[in-house]
């Protein structure tokens, strides 16, 4: 049996846990998915949709907020009781904290950051080593269970098989003695530094010096609105104070990887390029045919953005 440890926060399943399910499914054999937490009903419901033998809910008041001690205790107890062959979790920050503790407590091997896995007893794990300079096949030794964490993005969440009917949900009781918990979690907070999180935006309209004046920023804003995109800028625009600094893309701003990056009047200075080169599709509009931005653009339009952008907005409004 393969046990997947799913991660949830406030009832929402971490998307990477579906990747862990997908990884577990490639091993063949029955799968149980454990949801750790307190009152994570929605998360339990979501995981029941997976093709699995069952969903185990480990519900305890001490597990409401994450602490290394409580989770280590609960997962170790769960694993001992379930006696799986393999335990799979996504290589999240939480897993990096808790899984080594659990493995150490049970004196079993842990293979981390795995990018591929082949069925077997024990399974053969593939993981990058020495900063991905080489890829190694790692086989855990000793008796089961063997612990595996899978690199985020290595397996596709949408490839995880869904069940025809919801998997049965079983509650597993664990004891988490209060005196075993040495950490006191503070309420979670987000660093207020970046009010605008461009890193999650699927589409970005970005303006550079070619926009000429503050009064023209509205044009870019209109284009962004009609595309459902976030507005961003290169350094000169931020320097000029035409947009706040949390909208800067580049080496001293945010590093973004949207599906679409539309660069308006951006020359493509290297400090900007390093912040957006990961974009899936780059479209550049610039008057200067020699602008370096065209070296990395997938689509380039040499022309006046003040003619092209209004035409684009008009066309988008039609659709």
């Amino acid at each position: 049996m393969i046990l997947v440890i799913a991660e949830q926060k406030d009832g929402a399943i971490n998307r990477a846990s579906w990747e862990a399910v997908a990884a577990a499914q490639t091993l063949g054999g029955p799968i149980r998915i454990a949801v750790i937490g307190s009152g994570a009903t929605a998360a339990i419901g979501e995981m029941a949709g997976a093709k699995a033998e069952g969903v185990l809910t480990v519900d305890h008041a001490a597990l409401a907020s994450y602490t290394a001690d409580a989770y280590t205790h609960a997962i170790a107890e769960l694993v001992t009781a379930q006696a799986p062959d393999v335990v799979v979790a996504a290589h999240t920050y939480q897993a990096r904290d808790v899984m080594p503790r659990v493995a150490a407590r049970l004196d079993r091997p842990l293979v981390t950051d795995v990018v591929g896995i082949q069925a077997g007893s024990p399974p053969v794990c593939v993981r990058p080593m020495f900063q991905a300079k080489l890829v190694a096949e790692v086989v855990p030794v000793g008796p089961a269970p063997h612990f595996v964490t899978v690199q985020i993005g290595a397996f596709r969440a949408d490839s995880a098989a869904r069940g025809d009917s919801p998997a049965p949900v079983t509650t597993v009781d664990v004891t988490v003695p209060a005196d075993a918990i040495r950490q006191k979690p503070e309420p979670p907070f987000r660093e207020a530094k970046q009010a605008v999180d461009l890193t999650q935006a699927p589409r970005i309209v970005s303006v550079g010096r070619g926009i000429k004046g503050e009064e023209h920023i509205q044009l870019a804003r209109d284009l962004a609105a009609s595309l459902g995109a976030e507005l961003a800028a290169s350094r000169p625009i931020i320097d000029a104070g035409w947009l706040p600094s949390d909208r800067q893309v580049g080496s001293s701003g945010q590093t973004v990887a949207p599906k679409l990056y539309l660069a308006l009047g951006i020359s493509g200075a290297i400090q900007h390029v390093v912040g957006m080169k990961g974009a899936r599709t780059i479209v550049a509009i610039n008057k200067d045919p020699d602008a370096p931005i065209f070296e990395i653009a997938d689509y380039g339009i040499v022309g006046d953005l003040f003619e092209i952008v209004p035409a684009m907005i008009a066309e988008l409004k039609k659709g």
């Binding site: 350094r235 000169p236 931005i293």
Partner: protein
């Protein structure tokens, strides 16, 4: 009675002098490192030029410098006079009556007049004009010393003219009053020297001689000996201790520092004086990061102006880089460098781009992979050449020129960053990894001559790599192309649009002293050159060196903005650059300039271009479709003479 009184005073003054000097000697003796002076010839040259003829003192401040030269020579000339008078006073031997002494005394008169004129000028400057470089307050001790020197000269002139003959003051012959005044001033001076900036009288000949002959020499760390850089005052090396005691507080370093000029906390003069203060206070365990103002160490662009302008041989660069090493080895690099280090470790370039992009550029440019049988030269691309679309234009221009002149060249199949950023920011371990790997690749490929368009690559490959067993000749493309195209004239009919200003990259103009070749090339291409403020061997930095390319957020004015203003102020229509870092910084400054309709956003923006592009477009036979010169001079490639990079 008079003799015994003088003897007593001489012993007392000597004791006070020795006691103060011993404190300093002990600090020097216990400091790690050694005072070594390999390569004698350049050191002797520097000594003669800078000590005997005071070239650095005079260079940037001619009037003050010449005044100082007069005082210096006067001091040397007076050594004999003072000794003879002292010997007489001590009752050992009286030579004052000899004919030789009279002749000597007569010969000293012009010197004395010179010193008097010089010191008066210097005292007026210090006391009345009070330039910022000398500090916020007027040093009383300095004025006292000036007065002393003036008194010495006046008493001498009185004596030489025999003006005191027969005159008495309160029953004492004026001759004696004069003599005692002269001698007491000498003794007081002796006592004051060690604890004042006038210690440079004694130490600066040594510090100038001991200074590394090549600017920016920062020896590699020996990890086998567990060297990790400077962390505390007690770890300052012997030369650095000597520098701290020698500093004459003239402020040339401060006035030439681009960080100081743009309102940052870094002041190179202050670093040296803080070293002195901490050493004398015995704070040997004090961490340097607590001694210096934060984040002064991370505001240095390693432009080298401080050290290159220092008249007493103080070396700021090794101090700053070594202190950075101490911080980096404890994981205290500033946050903007962390991704850069990651990029260098994982991808071997400063921007973390994939090596296939470099390959694409090589394929598109149609250049061959270096083969020692087919090629004489390697063109080293560097990170910018391999990955930065803008600078790749410069390299294409260089390729076009080389091809037109039938130079046999290739590029390496793979390159890693030369490690300049790692070296200058103190990540020595990373630098050595990159250097070792590159040197192995270069040597294995059989490379004998390297051309690069990046002055930072020039410095690292041509100088820093010597410690790693790399001996090939390394030259900047400006130098190579200048020699290659001698005698060429601009393509007829290409209009020379207005004037051109040339921005000397620090690592080319100041470090490599290459200032004539770029200008010769520009002139050959038909340009009229307008020189900016701060030019040639003392340019104002673009702000990118020393890892600051990645900083972008600066306190005070951006250095690049300040430099762009200086360049724009020439009124030139075109700014020509010869370094990818300068190009990135100054183009960025231009884009940020004129946000509210100020300079730069004018009707006709200043064209920003690279030296090679400028030349390739204007010399015949390169891009004008004309056939290459009938008898290509490059059939036998130009032989370079002299040292490769200095």
């Amino acid at each position: 009675m008079e003799v015994w009184l003088f003897r007593l005073l001489v012993v007392a003054a000597a004791a006070l002098f020795v006691r103060q000097m011993l404190v300093r000697y002990r600090l020097l003796a216990r400091a790690p490192g050694a005072l070594e002076a390999p390569e004698l010839a350049p050191r002797v040259r520097a000594f003669v030029s800078e000590i005997v003829f005071q070239s650095r003192t005079i260079a940037a401040r001619p009037i003050v410098g010449i005044a100082h030269l007069l005082v210096f020579w006067g001091f040397c000339a007076f050594a004999g006079y003072t000794s003879v008078e002292a010997l007489r006073g001590l009752g050992i031997i009286d030579l004052t009556g000899t004919a030789a002494f009279h002749a000597y005394e007569a010969a000293l008169v012009p010197f004395a007049s010179g010193v008097l004129a010089g010191i008066t000028l210097l005292a007026i400057r210090r006391g009345v004009l009070r330039p910022r470089a000398l500090g916020a307050y007027v040093s009383k001790e300095s004025l006292l010393i000036s007065a002393f020197i003036a008194i010495l000269m006046i008493t001498f002139l009185v004596d030489a003219a025999d003006a005191h003959a027969g005159v008495a003051v309160g029953g004492v012959p004026l001759e004696r009053v004069n003599w005692w005044t002269h001698m007491l001033v000498i003794l007081a001076f002796t006592v004051l020297i060690p604890d004042s900036k006038h210690l440079h009288l004694l130490l600066s000949p040594a510090t100038v001689f001991l200074r590394a002959p090549i600017l920016g020499t920062v020896p590699k760390l020996d990890f086998e000996k567990e060297q990790t850089g400077l962390e505390t005052v007690g770890q300052l090396e012997k030369k650095q201790v000597l520098d701290a005691f020698t500093c004459v507080e003239c402020g040339r370093c401060q006035e030439n520092c681009p960080a100081f000029a743009t309102g940052k906390v870094l002041n190179p003069k202050k670093l040296i004086l803080q070293n002195e203060e901490a050493l004398l206070a015995g704070k040997l365990d004090l961490p340097l990061k607590d001694l210096y103002d934060d984040p002064a160490l991370w505001q240095c662009t390693t432009c080298g102006a401080c050290q290159n302008e220092c008249p007493v041989g103080v070396e700021h660069l090794p101090l700053i880089v070594n202190a950075r090493r101490g911080l980096v080895s404890n994981g205290e690099a500033p946050s903007q460098l962390v991704p850069v280090y990651n990029h260098l470790e994982r991808r071997g370039n400063i921007w973390g781009l994939l090596s296939e992009q470099r390959q694409k550029f090589i394929d598109a440019a149609g250049v061959e992979i270096f083969d020692p049988v087919k090629h004489d030269y390697v063109v080293w691309l560097g990170c910018a050449g391999a990955f930065e679309a803008d600078f790749q234009k410069s390299l294409r221009a260089l390729f076009d020129i080389l091809k037109a002149k039938q130079v046999r060249f290739g590029v390496l199949a793979k390159e890693k960053c030369n490690g300049d950023v790692a070296k200058r920011t103190g990540n020595e371990y990373l630098f050595q990894e990159l250097a070792t790997s590159n040197v192995a690749d270069l040597n294995e490929a059989g490379v004998k001559k390297v051309i690069t368009s990046c002055p930072h690559c020039l410095k690292t490959l041509g100088h820093d790599y010597r410690e790693f067993g790399f001996e090939a000749e390394v030259m900047h493309s400006a130098v190579f192309v200048e020699e290659l195209t001698r005698g060429a004239t601009p393509i007829p009919g290409v209009p020379t649009q207005g004037t051109v200003t040339y921005h000397d990259p620090c690592y080319l103009g100041r470090y490599a002293q290459t200032v004539d070749e770029p200008r010769a090339l520009l002139a050959r291409a038909g340009a009229t050159i307008a020189e900016p403020e701060r030019t040639k061997t003392n340019p104002f930095c673009c702000g990118a060196g020393g890892g600051l390319l990645f900083e972008e957020q600066e306190t005070g004015q951006r250095i690049s903005d300040a430099r762009y203003e200086q360049l724009a102020a020439t009124g030139a229509d075109t700014v020509v650059m010869a370094c990818p870092f300068c190009s990135i910084m100054l183009k960025g400054a231009q884009a940020s300039a004129g946000k509210s309709g100020a300079a730069g956003a004018a009707d006709k923006p200043i064209a920003m271009t690279d030296l090679m592009s400028y030349v390739a477009d204007r010399l015949p036979g390169v891009r004008d479709g004309a056939p290459p010169a009938a008898a290509p001079p490059a059939a036998s490639p130009p032989e370079r003479s002299g040292e490769p990079t200095s």
